[in-house]
């Protein structure tokens, strides 16, 4: 069944399709519709889950930790300040190896108050051990939620699905709704090997000395590494079953491209339109959408970008004192492998529009190579 729905509701439908058992969330713009619809689904029986309407995001995620540790499939949704309030538990969920899935609507962080999109909230959780997948369409959002549970429960790490505020969260698109019955063979009920169980009592998360902590962290990294193959396999299986696949990265017209723009989120769609327009003018340009940010797709990024003459990375985020974050990541992926020059572009912070014209400007600047800072170029800022 196809419906025209907003991105936030695409999240809700993904959760519904995944037979989630416990949802715990707290309202924050611009993700509120995710939990509103989920509350409604729980209330009307469409979804057989407990909805815990907690008093904060911190509690939202800790409730998920509890529910997931009990062995139930668990979901939460948040954004920006809420995500930051969760930060302690973001780490906790990883150390506890709980396959929680969360949607985060990218929203700029205050002060000043801003409800519009940028990626600093989710990217500031980069080093916590969550898998991060950035989506560009409502359909992808819904489908990725379902994939995320399967991936999370395979590698026993939590997964964050990221979507842009308003450009996706409040934008209505046609979505082919996944029905739980159809998804169940793809995503069977969660049956964890370890859980809180009075019949088999264990203490989870107690003090580990230097003799053990190190190995536990090594295993998280190992799981993260292993997850690349799992993500790929899951996406392939999903595609076989539902006809839609998304890849770890999405290269667009890159095979013969001299110039490649690296993007993420909704900027990727806009960029593809710009690529088509410039290709029509004979410019050999392509784009690379980084869909999975953690684990970082080193091989895929290297493979696509090593053939280019120039690479530009568009960041809707800033790591103060150290350039755009995707830029850093791409550069570190390429370092020592190829000499292709990589240039960073910061744009669209706090929800400033990243229009085709903005992207074209970036492309042209990259191609021309004039007035180009080597690492960080602020696009559109009123200097």
């Amino acid at each position: 069944m196809k419906k025209v729905i907003m991105g936030n509701h695409a999240v809700s439908y993904g959760v519904r399709a995944s037979d989630v058992k416990v949802i715990s969330a707290y309202p924050i713009t611009p993700q509120t519709q995710v939990v509103e619809l989920l509350s409604e689904m729980c209330a009307n029986g469409e979804l057989d889950a407990k909805f815990i309407a907690v008093e904060s995001e911190h509690s939202a995620l800790t409730a998920c930790v509890g529910a997931s540790a009990a062995g139930s499939r668990t979901f939460t949704a948040t954004s920006s300040q809420g995500l930051l309030l969760m930060h302690e538990i973001i780490h906790w969920a990883v150390g506890a190896r709980l396959p929680i899935v969360m949607s985060n609507v990218n929203r700029a962080v205050g002060p000043p108050w801003s409800i519009w999109t940028d990626q600093n909230d989710s990217l500031s959780q980069r080093d916590t051990g969550w898998l991060q997948i950035y989506c560009e369409s409502n359909q992808e959002v819904q489908d990725t939620i379902v994939q995320a549970f399967k991936i999370a429960e395979t590698v026993m790490l939590p997964v964050m699905i990221v979507l842009d505020a308003f450009f996706l969260s409040h934008t209505f698109e046609i979505v082919d709704i996944l029905e739980p019955e159809a998804v169940r063979p793809f995503l069977p009920p969660y049956r964890p090997a370890r859980k809180i169980d009075t019949a088999d009592p264990h203490s989870f998360g107690n003090l580990a000395g230097p003799g053990e902590y190190f190995e536990l962290r090594y295993m998280i990294e190992k799981a993260m590494e292993d997850s690349r193959a799992v993500i790929e396999r899951t996406d392939r299986e999903f595609e076989e079953r539902f006809g839609r696949g998304y890849g770890i990265v999405k290269p667009y017209r890159c095979d013969d491209a001299d110039y490649v723009l690296v993007t993420s989120g909704t900027v990727a769609s806009t960029t593809r339109a710009v690529v088509d327009a410039m290709r029509a003018e004979g410019i050999k340009i392509g784009s690379l959408k980084v869909r999975v940010f953690r684990p970082f797709p080193f091989d895929e990024v290297r493979e696509v970008l090593s053939k280019a003459k120039k690479v530009g990375v568009i960041d809707r985020n800033i790591s103060f004192g150290h350039h755009g974050i995707f830029y850093q990541e791409v550069k570190s992926a390429l370092y020592g492998r190829t000499n292709v020059p990589v240039t960073g572009f910061i744009t669209g912070l706090g929800g400033r529009d990243v229009t085709p014209a903005v992207i074209r400007g970036i492309a042209e600047k990259l191609i021309a190579g004039t007035n180009l800072e080597p690492d960080i170029n602020w696009i559109g800022v009123k200097i």
Binding site: G95, A96, R97, M156, R194, H202, S203, F204, G205, N206, L207, A208, E212, E215, L216, Y218, M219, A223
Partner: protein
């Protein structure tokens, strides 16, 4: 004790921190500086009891509703608790720690209840067979003799009791009125003792008259002499032999024998001991107005305090600091007795202040009968030649009743002078134990160090203040109407209630506190004891403080 899990590779580990075993690999006993250990003391009451009854223990058994076991424990020290529970002066209660908290435990009432249960359950007393060939003669069937006979018979020695009277009991039978110790109770006690083992009784066999001590010494492997005091002391006042004057003991004998007595309307009793009280109270029951005249004051009276109070309660009057000086009597009618007024002088050898005449002050009483009850003495004639004596008494050494003859032992009043039933019982038992050791060649027991405790050692937070439960009694008018026993004894509920008041000083009574409060689960609760698990005991010593009764002591590690 558990094993510590160690990992050689991350591959052996769960993916998250998750326990796979408990903490018992971690022997926290190594943290300990000071070690608690169970260290049971001797309860003060036991030290206060001449018979060393294990009072704490039998009360504890009562709280467990183990009545037969309680009775057995009591019978280990005293074969006639039904008697002592009624007539003892209970020095144990003076020592009772609870006295310093609220009121002492009513130990005699408990003792009596247990003893009576033993009488009511004849099956509890399994007759001991004669397992020894050595025979023992016991001369005297009073408390000392019965006690000696019992403990010898229980050990398998064939015993022959020689009793001057027609029935056993001695002073218990003739010296104590029925309102304190009913004859049927005494009969059952005697029967129980006689039936407890190989005991032969020869009545009408008085020492010196029918039985010769030297002959017994030859015929028996050992002899115990417990003949008591047979003679009343004279007043030493002219006219004391004659109409209207009677020895108190003779009067009691007549009363206890069921003979009708009529001492008249007005009676004086001279003396301040238990006999004086009993005579006075019997005279009250015979309808007399009774005045007890004592040469010292109330404080010096040797009678049991309870008995004095009972006598007062029954309307007996007291005149203190007075002694009879002369007696005037006509052919009939009341006597006129002149009393010298006394005052207290310097202390005598007993520590009590000696009464001395207070100048010429006198007063007179007109009485129908005057009873003398100023004490009894032994007749040394039957044993004086064979045994070393101390005055009229048989000289003994040590606590075991040994006399100057190796095979002859003595105990009770004949060795100590006028004392109490419980002391006679204790003496009989100790002599029996000594005789048994002599005959079997067992070594003497080593003297034990007996630590005890006092109120400072009790954790009183675990006790609620209350009152001793008094034994129910019949109304005064009923008491005075005859010789019915005044105290009716505890029922089961009362017995249990009073038993529950016991602190169980210095001795574990399984209150569970050490086990309950151990933060380290290092106290094992076993079938009939607790045990410290020193592998884990950290030495916090909470158990020591929370033991309500100081049954746990401490010592420094490595010392």
């Amino acid at each position: 004790m558990g094993e510590k899990i160690t990992f050689k590779s991350y591959k052996e580990m769960p993916i998250c921190a998750m326990s796979g075993a408990d903490m018992t690999y971690n022997l926290t006993g190594s943290w300990r500086n000071v070690r608690p250990y169970y260290d049971f003391k001797v309860s003060p009451c036991r030290l206060g009891c001449p018979a060393m009854e294990n009072i704490q223990r039998y009360i504890f058994l009562l709280t467990q509703e183990k009545y037969e076991e309680a009775w057995r424990e009591l019978m280990e020290a005293n074969p006639m608790p039904s008697v002592t529970g009624r007539v003892c002066f209970h020095p144990c209660m003076e020592k009772c720690t609870r006295k310093d908290f609220d009121q002492a435990i009513n130990i005699p009432a408990i003792e009596r209840s247990i003893g009576d249960r033993g009488l009511d359950n004849p099956g509890w007393m399994k007759k001991a067979p004669a397992t020894k060939k050595e025979t023992v003669a016991v001369v005297g069937g009073g408390p000392a003799g019965l006690s000696a006979a019992y403990y010898l018979a229980r050990r398998g020695y064939p015993v022959t009791i020689f009793e001057a009277d027609a029935v056993l009991g001695g002073t218990l039978r003739w010296g104590i009125p029925e309102y304190r110790l009913p004859n049927d109770v005494l009969d059952r006690v005697v029967a129980q003792i006689v039936g407890s083992g190989p005991i032969t009784v020869k009545t009408g066999a008085a020492l010196g008259r029918d039985v010769d001590l030297a002959k017994l010494e030859k015929e028996f492997a050992a002899v115990f002499v417990g003949v008591g005091l047979s003679r009343s002391r004279p007043l030493g006042v002219a006219g004391e032999e004659g109409r209207g004057i009677e020895r108190g003991l003779d009067f009691l004998r007549r009363v206890n024998g069921g003979e009708p007595v009529n001492p008249g309307r007005s009676v004086a009793v001279v003396g301040g001991g238990n006999t004086a009280m009993d005579v006075a109270r019997c005279a009250r029951r015979a309808g007399a107005e009774v005045t007890v005249v004592y040469r010292r004051t109330m404080n010096e009276m040797p009678a049991i305090k309870d008995e004095i109070e009972e006598a007062e309660h029954e309307g007996v009057r007291f005149r203190f600091l007075a002694a009879p000086k002369s007696i005037e009597r006509g052919a009939s009618g009341p006597l006129t007795v002149v009393f010298q007024q006394m005052k207290l002088g310097d202390p005598d050898e007993s520590g009590r202040r000696r009464p001395v005449p207070d100048g010429d002050a006198t007063f007179t009483l007109s009485v129908n009968t005057m009873f003398t009850a100023i004490g009894e003495e032994a007749d040394a004639a039957p044993f004086g030649k064979l045994l070393e004596c101390d005055g009229n008494l048989i000289a003994t050494k040590g606590e075991w009743g040994e006399t100057s003859r190796k095979k002859i032992f003595a105990g009770g009043d004949v060795a100590t002078g006028a004392a109490s039933v419980v002391e006679a019982v204790a003496a009989g038992r100790k002599a029996a134990e000594r005789i048994s050791r002599m005959l079997s060649g067992e070594p003497e027991p080593a003297a034990e160090e007996t630590g005890t405790i006092s109120i400072e050692n009790i954790n009183t937070a675990y006790f609620t203040k209350g009152k001793r439960l008094l034994v129910p009694r019949i109304p005064l008018d009923e008491a005075l109407a005859g010789y019915r026993e005044i105290h009716t004894g505890y029922d089961d509920r009362m017995l249990r209630r009073e038993a529950d008041r016991c602190f169980s000083c210095g001795v574990c009574n399984f209150c569970d506190n050490c086990w309950v409060f151990c933060p380290d689960v290092a106290v094992r609760r076993l079938e009939a004891e607790y045990e410290f698990d020193y592998d884990f005991c950290k030495g916090c010593l909470v158990c020591v403080i929370e033991c309500p009764r100081c049954a746990i002591s401490t010592r420094e590690e490595g010392k």
